[in-house]
């Protein structure tokens, strides 16, 4: 069973839940930017939640099926068309041999997730099918899918028609609030700059991809004066190159914060002011350029509570789908 790629979209990659364990060599965990949406898409078609699907950013692909199967699309809102007929998002639907799945223009969010019953069955590299384009690893020859590719499918479970109650999803926000735990090199900037970082509104810059999201619009940061330590470099935003955290916020030159995401660089020489909490990483994957964002200061207890909240939300969906 396989799927033929008729049009690839802008950058459509094969993603699962990633390859932990190699970040110390500069190979990031990768995997779906919005893991919540990939998990739910897989649940809908009766897959393991970590099965590989397609992540398409801003624009959907066009796919032709050579056998009957089940499909679910989650994540961003984008018209879903099967042989030109609309289908619902967050819903498993049947596809017949020879039918073509295509998409209309993006309405909200940034990335759709397409899960197929049985999951995409491309070879695993370092334990994962996720595509890490910078390192030419995973997916198909380490690149996004291209026109003419044939994507093999694994053995399906027993999918049935079912849908997710969208009341169980996180409500959209404007501006989007990203919760941040201050830390790392937070004390390198003055208290006034610390306050401004949380008080001001930021917008997503065009430089936003799987490696990281850049934000602009806030004031330049003021550094606490110091003699730069040996090996760091002369700019006050420089540190001796160290390891980075997923979600960590670096501010080269003190101007535009960059939040590292799933395909993060594992280290570097810019200071970081803390990290977006794990529960809000999915949210970043759905941000379009120019979206307004506020960073919200939280402590560890709040970060852990948010993490639990996200897990409970997933558990509710899991339970609802198992019951239906």
């Amino acid at each position: 069973m396989a799927i033929k790629v008729r049009k690839a979209g802008l950058s459509t990659t094969i993603q699962d839940l990633g390859r932990p364990g190699y970040f110390h060599l500069g190979i990031p965990e990768g995997g779906a930017m919005d893991r919540f949406s990939l998990r739910v898409a897989n649940m809908l078609v009766g897959n393991d939640e970590g099965a590989a699907g397609l992540e398409a950013v801003f624009m959907g692909p066009e796919l032709e099926f050579n056998a009957d199967t089940w499909v679910a699309v989650t994540g961003a809102t984008m018209p879903i068309l099967l042989d030109g007929e609309p289908r619902d998002g967050w819903t498993a639907f049947q596809v017949k041999k020879g039918q073509v799945l295509s998409f209309g223009f993006l309405k909200s969010g940034a990335r759709i997730y397409i899960a197929f019953a049985g999951g995409l069955d491309t070879p695993k590299h370092l334990g994962s099918r996720s595509t890490y384009v910078i390192g030419a690893l995973g997916g198909i020859d380490g690149r996004p899918v291209a026109e003419g590719d044939v994507l093999p499918l694994g053995k399906p479970g027993m999918p049935v028609e079912r849908k997710v109650d969208t009341a169980l999803l996180r409500a959209p926000q404007n501006p989007v609030e990203l919760r941040v735990l201050p830390g790392l090199y937070w004390d390198r900037i003055t208290e006034a700059s610390q306050d401004r970082f949380f008080a001001e509104e930021w917008t997503v810059a065009p430089e936003a991809d799987r490696m990281g999201y850049r934000f602009r619009g806030g004031s330049p940061m003021e550094f606490v004066p110091r003699d730069q330590p040996f090996g760091a470099g002369s700019d006050p935003s420089n540190i001796v190159d160290g390891c980075y955290s997923y979600g960590s916020i670096q501010v080269p030159g003190g101007t535009e914060p960059i939040v590292l995401h799933r395909d993060a660089v594992s280290g570097g020489g810019y200071f970081t002011i803390g990290a977006v909490i794990s529960a809000d990483m999915d949210l970043i994957g759905q941000l379009q350029p120019n979206t307004k964002v506020r960073f919200v200061k939280v402590d560890m207890d709040a970060a852990l509570a948010a993490r639990k909240d996200r897990q409970e939300r997933l558990q509710k969906i899991r339970a609802a789908l198992a019951g239906g």
Binding site: P20, G21, F23, H24, L25, G26, I27, H125, Y132, I134, G135, A136, L137, G142, L181, G183, L184, W186, P229, F230, G231, A232, G233, S234, D235, N238, I239, V240, D241, G242, C243, Y244, S245, Y246, G247, S248, P252, V265, S266, G267, G268, G269, T272, G274, A275, V276, I277, S278, M300, A303, L304, R307, Q311
Partner: protein, 291 residues
């Protein structure tokens, strides 16, 4: 040296052994990293040693962040007693300095550089007090280097020069990072040299290029069949200058699978190195050349 512990979100603890670079800080970071690995703490998913720091990634559903922090602090004292010595290897990395590819790239990004009228090498030679680019290149390859971190992107080594601090080369990064760097560029930023494992963005000054692949996700390169990443922290590197002919010859040898990097097993002892840097280096290079 003052150790500093901090959380990076709810899944990471970052530990800075020192805010400045030294081999002492590196050895301490690697000793704790190893102690964490050996302690087999439930919930730890990644351990990342870096130049003068390290990071632990953990699952806070399995171990509470405060408990994780306390465990790391306990392990620090054990690591303080570790001997700064390691069994490692010295590897010869051929470098074609002033090659046409990095030259073409640096010319394209001149407006992002501190000194748009000079090349990266001319600039680096001048600010480090060398009379000529040739003398500077000589200083870059005459003594060995220590791999104090692997990362940034897949398999990229950060190299620390094994010479007295006052002789170490130091250069700033580009004012604004380039959007392109040729694959296998030998670069420089702060006190570190590096080898770009893949093509892509970069802020380090560009000095040359090596014909020797150091990352191969397809694992077709003969010496990367066991694992796709060549370097690991603690490796010692000796750069060897080559010209265009030798560059082309090595590229062809890599292609046909006959290239073998020059390499020897050695012990690196930090105390011995500090007591006699040039003598220790001479022995390391003897091991390489005798192989």
């Amino acid at each position: 040296m003052k150790t500093r512990y901090t959380f990076g979100g709810d899944e990471h603890i970052f530990v800075e052994m020192d805010d400045e670079m030294s081999l002492e800080a590196f050895f301490k970071a690697i000793a704790i990293s190893r102690a964490v690995e050996e302690a087999q703490i439930d919930g730890v998913t990644e351990i990342l040693p870096a130049n003068a720091s390290f990071e632990v990634r953990f699952n806070p559903d399995v171990i509470h962040p405060d408990k994780m922090m306390a465990r790391l602090k306990e392990l620090e004292s054990a690591a303080n007693n570790a001997e700064p010595r390691m069994q490692t290897r010295i590897i010869e990395i051929p470098v074609y300095y002033q090659d046409p590819w990095t030259h073409e790239t640096l010319m394209r990004f001149r407006e992002r550089h501190q000194d748009p009228k000079a090349t990266d090498l001319e600039y680096a030679a001048r600010i480090n007090g060398y009379d000529s680019v040739d003398a500077f290149i000589e200083a870059h390859h005459a003594q060995p280097w220590f791999v104090s971190m692997v990362g940034f992107v897949a398999g990229l080594p950060f190299l620390y020069q094994l010479v007295e601090r006052e002789k170490q080369i130091e250069v700033p990064k580009y004012l604004r990072p380039r959007t392109d760097t040729p694959k296998l560029t030998v670069g420089y930023g702060g006190c570190f040299s590096c080898i770009y494992s893949v093509r892509g963005a970069g802020g380090y000054q560009m000095f040359g290029i090596t014909p020797m692949p150091i990352y191969d996700p397809q694992q077709k390169v003969s010496y990367l069949k066991d694992f796709m990443v060549f370097f690991k922290p603690g490796d010692i590197v000796k750069f060897a200058p080559i010209g265009r002919e030798e560059y082309d010859r090595i590229v062809a040898e890599v292609e046909e699978g006959s290239y073998r990097p020059g390499m020897a097993q050695v012990t690196f002892d930090l105390d011995a190195f500090n007591a006699d840097m040039r003598g220790t280096n001479a022995k390391l290079m003897e091991a390489l050349n005798g192989n």
